[in-house]
Amino acid sequence: MLSLTVEGLVIPLDQHGYLADLNLWSEKLALEFARLEQVNMSAEHWEVVLFVRDFYQEFRTSPAIRVLVKAIAAKLGPDKGNSKYLFMLFPEGPAKQATRIAGLPKPARCL
């Protein structure tokens, strides 16, 4: 089983390298995932990461890119709810990277 060690604690991951137990998430863990994703967390990154966490709390599903763009546009406005802005923050894929940093399951790749 994959795992991540943060401050001496061994945190289990799923087979895709995402957090295995959603309850174990912390901001420190988010920073560790961000380091693995080579994302330098700024206030803008945190805004998106916390947004996808809220999204998951409400809808119980990890957002794929299309709905992530729509949801952010609805809540934070079109300047942030567009794929160009999100890809600038998360070049390897906003849905894929932001959900991992947020400690959520990997989004379905068929949507």
């Binding site: 409400e58 809808f59 119980r60 599903t61 299309r66 709905v67 729509k70 949801a71 609805a74 379905a108 068929c110 949507l111």
Partner: protein, 118 residues
């Protein structure tokens, strides 16, 4: 863009049918089809949250239906007889539904270009 109706008729506990149907609805709406969702028979139970889902060994996937609005699903319809049979009031439902008679649903279906049934 097509007018597509998705008819749901299974209980939320009947395997992956309903859950994968919700994914299909969102996929269709995401590419701008005009989607009408119709809850019939035991499927009206999907409109209530699954309580104690952990004890049942399944995930409560019902909150994802609240995304239909964000995906701009054109209409969400619940069959009046089914709601009555399962004693569910529209205001108890997770999402806003338009209650329709069988006859009205029939007319609605006649307007669709594609129909998928889950």
């Amino acid at each position: 863009m097509k007018k597509i109706a998705v008819i749901l008729s299974h209980s939320p506990f009947d395997g992956a049918i309903s859950r994968e149907a919700h994914d299909m609805i969102m996929a269709l709406a995401a590419v701008e089809h005009q989607v009408t969702v119709i809850y019939q028979d035991a499927a009206v139970l999907q409109l209530l949250p699954i309580r104690r889902s952990a004890a049942l060994g399944c995930k409560d996937y019902t909150p994802a239906q609240k995304l239909f609005e964000l995906y701009e699903v054109a209409a969400v319809v619940a069959d009046a007889c089914a709601l009555q049979l399962y004693q569910i009031l529209p205001e108890q439902c997770l999402i806003t539904v338009t209650v329709m008679s069988d006859q009205a649903i029939q007319a609605l279906l006649a307007q669709q270009q594609h129909i998928l049934r889950f």
